[in-house]
Symmetry: C2
Subunit: 392 residues, 2 copies
C-alpha cells in the first residue's frame, strides 16, 4: 500500500436541466468574461449553445465563442484560443462538450495564465504555475477530463500526441446532465464506455499493492459501466444508464480508483496515443483494439491481478490454474467489447499500418515514455513493437 | 435516481510521516497565524503536538494552541476558541485529532468568520456565509469530518447536541497518516469503525433510487471496513488495516456513498444524538446499540434494500423469503458488532434510561428533526419511542 495525494476540487452539479445553473456557477467562481469553447456543430444544432448563451445574457455575463475542437484536439486551435482570450480579456473558460473541448480549454488556460509557448508543458519542458479558471458542461462521457488533472493535445507538425497533468487544470465546476449525452451516435457512446473502463483498468493492473477499498470501488465501477454500456446498445435514451456511465466516467479518472496503488500501468493508453497521432481514430476504439494484445503480453507478469479481475469483474469461475482463469477474463473482456461493437484488433479498428509504421509508432512511444514504462510489466521499445504486431 | 451535488475540495495527503508536510500545506492556503486545536492529552503525550509545532517553528509560522476538545465537543470551548482567534488575529485553523477537535474547530471557524452567536447555525436560525480556512491532522478514523461538510456540537445548557452542515466548513487539507491511529484504545478503534460504516448505511437504507455505482461503492466500503475492523481487534498495529479504515472513514462521509440517492435515512444518527446528549456515550457505540432495534422496526418498509444489504454486504445466502433474508442480514450485522466488542442494545452500552427519559429523548429527537424523518421508514415521535424501548 502506497502513500497518495487525492485532490478533486471540482464542484459537480449532476442531473436533468443542470445546465441552467451555468451563469450562477460562473459568477460563484468570479468569471466576468467567458470564452465558450466547444467542438463540432452538435452543440449548436441541439440548441445547447443557445441555451447557454441565453443564460449568460440573462445574467449579464459577457462572452466570446470558439468552436472547432476535434477528437485528438489540435495545438493550432489552442494557440488561436489563447490569442482570443488575450485580445478579449477573458477571465473564465467554459468548455461545452466532451474531452476534446475540455482538454483544448485546459491548454488554452495554461497558455493564457503562464505565457510562453503552451506546447512546452506537453513537451515536458516546464510546469504550469496556474491556469485560467475552467467550468465544464459535459456532453460526452468518456475522458473524465471534467474532473481529472489531465489533458491531451496533438501537435499537427509530426503528429505528436501528448498529455499534460496539473492540479491547476482541474475544472472549478462540472455540469453533468445525462440527457445531453442521449443524442450521441452509438459508436461514440461505446467508445466513451471503453475509455472510462480503461482509466480504471490502467490503475488496476499493477504490481504495486492496491488498497482493498480502492479495488472494491474499481471493480464495482467496471461492472457498472459494462452493465450499462450493454443497456445503451439497445436503449440509447435510457436516462439511468446514461447517468451511471456519466458518473462512472468522472470517478474513473479523478484519482479515486488509483488511491494507494503505485500509479498504475498506463501502457495501453501510451500505445494508443501513437495510434491516435497517426490515424486519428476514436480514442476508446483505439484502446480496445490494443488492450487484448497488451493483456496477453503482460498477464503472466501480473497474474494475481488478472486472476482477480477475471473473477470479480468478468464473473469467471475461479476454477483451474491462475493462468487459465486470467486468460478467460481477457477473453470475456474482448467478448464484451464485441457486444458493444468495439474493435479487438487493428483490423477491426479499420487501420492497417505497415511494418515501417509499426516500428515508427513503437519508437515514438518509447521516446514518449522516456524509454520504458508499465507496472503490470515494464515494456521497452521491442515489447511495444511486439504488442503492435500482435494487434494487427 | 436523483440529481445531486458533489463537492469534496479537501486536499488529502495520505501515508506515513505526512504530518511533516503541515507547514507547507498551511502556507499553500495562505495561513500566517494558526490556532492549533486538539483534544485530550494524547497528542501531547505521543509527541505529535511537538512535532507539529517544531515544523511550524521551522517554517516561521506563528501559532497559538487550544486543547480540551472532548467527544461530543462543547459549545463553551467553541466560544473560548472564537475569542482566542479574535484576540490573536488567527487566520488559519489546524485541528489535530479526531472528529471532536475537527468539529470544534469548524464551529470556531464559523464563529470567527460570521460574527454573532455561533450557536445560531446549530439552532437552524441562520446560515454561515464563510468559515476560517481549516486544515486537519487526523488521529482517529471515525466521523469523516476531515472531508465532510458537517460538524456536531453539544450545548451544555439543556444537553442539546446538534449538527450543522456547510460547504464552507470543508477542510482545505487533511493529513492522514494511519500510524497516528495505532495507539488508540481498542474500544475507540471499534467505535470509529462502527461510525464509519453507519455513515454509509444511513445513505444506503433509503426508499429513493440509489445509483448502481453508488451502491457498488457503498457495499465495497462496508465489506472493507468489516474485514479490517476484525483484523484490528487482533492486530491493532496493522498498518494496512489502519489505512483501509482511515480512507474508508473519509469516503464514507464526504458525499460519495450518497450520490444519486434521496439523501438517505439518518434516523439512527438522530436517535443516537439524543442518547449522546444525555449520557455522553461514545458515538459509535451509541449507534450500534440503537441500530438493530431501528433496523427491525423499519426493514419491512425498505425490504429491497435490506435484502440486498444482507446478500451483498453480509454474505447471506439469497434463499427463502425476502423478509427472512433481510432479517438474517440484520442478525449478521449484530453478530459482527459483537465480534468487534460493540454493544447491540442500551444494556450492553451500559446505560439504563428510565421510561421518563425515553419519553424525553423521543420528544427531543422529534423536535430536532422537525416532527418526522427517515427514508427507510418515516418515523414520528411514537416510532422513536418504540425504537428506544426496543433497544433497552
Amino acid at each position: 500500500m502506497f502513500a497518495f495525494n487525492y485532490f478533486t476540487p471540482t464542484r459537480v452539479v449532476f442531473g436533468r436541466d443542470t445546465e441552467q445553473k451555468v451563469a450562477e456557477l460562473i459568477k460563484t467562481f468570479g468569471g466576468t468574461k467567458v470564452l465558450i469553447h466547444y467542438g463540432g456543430g452538435s452543440v449548436v444544432r441541439s440548441g445547447l449553445l443557445k441555451r447557454v448563451t441565453d443564460t449568460l445574457d440573462a445574467a449579464g455575463i459577457a462572452y466570446v465563442t470558439l468552436g472547432g475542437a476535434v477528437p485528438n484536439p489540435r495545438l493550432s486551435l489552442v494557440y488561436q484560443g489563447i490569442e482570443l482570450c488575450k485580445k478579449e480579456g477573458v477571465d473564465f473558460l467554459l468548455a461545452v462538450g466532451g474531452g476534446s473541448a475540455i482538454d483544448s480549454a485546459k491548454a488554452i488556460g495554461y497558455g493564457v495564465a503562464n505565457g510562453g509557448d503552451v506546447w512546452d508543458f506537453y513537451d515536458y519542458k516546464r510546469k504550469a504555475a496556474g491556469c485560467l479558471p475552467l467550468g465544464v458542461i459535459l456532453t460526452l462521457s468518456a475522458t473524465g477530463s471534467e474532473m481529472s488533472d489531465s489533458s491531451v493535445i496533438t501537435k499537427e507538425e509530426g503528429q505528436i500526441k501528448r498529455g499534460y497533468s496539473s492540479d491547476f487544470g482541474r475544472a472549478k465546476f462540472a455540469i453533468m446532465n445525462p440527457e445531453l449525452t442521449m443524442t450521441l451516435p452509438d459508436y461514440q457512446t461505446a467508445c466513451g464506455c471503453a475509455d472510462i473502463m480503461m482509466h480504471t483498468m490502467e490503475r488496476y493492473f499493477t504490481n504495486g499493492g492496491n488498497m482493498e477499498i480502492t479495488d472494491a470501488i474499481a471493480e464495482g465501477l467496471l461492472r457498472t459501466v459494462m452493465t450499462n454500456a450493454e443497456i445503451l446498445v439497445k436503449d440509447p435514451k435510457n436516462y439511468d444508464a446514461r447517468a451511471e456511465v456519466m458518473w462512472a466516467g468522472s470517478l474513473s479518472h479523478n484519482g479515486l480508483t488509483g488511491c494507494g496503488s503505485d500509479g498504475g500501468d498506463w501502457m495501453t493508453h501510451k500505445l494508443e496515443h501513437e495510434l491516435g497521432g497517426l490515424y486519428d481514430v476514436a480514442h476508446g476504439a483505439g484502446l480496445t483494439a490494443i488492450w487484448g494484445s497488451w493483456a496477453r503480453y503482460v498477464y503472466k507478469n501480473c497474474l494475481p491481478r488478472f486472476r482477480r479481475f477475471a473473477v470479480n469483474v468478468m464473473g469467471v469461475e475461479p476454477t483451474g490454474s491462475d493462468e487459465a482463469v486470467a486468460l478467460k477474463g481477457i477473453e470475456a473482456m474482448e467478448a464484451f467489447y464485441r457486444r458493444i461493437n468495439m474493435p479487438t484488433n487493428l483490423r477491426e479498428l479499420g487501420v492497417k499500418p505497415t511494418e515501417d509504421e509499426l516500428v515508427t509508432m513503437a519508437h515514438k512511444c518509447a521516446v514518449g515514455v522516456g524509454g520504458a514504462k508499465g507496472s503490470a510489466r515494464l515494456l521497452k521499445e521491442a515489447d511495444m513493437l511486439a504488442i503492435y504486431r500482435a494487434s494487427l
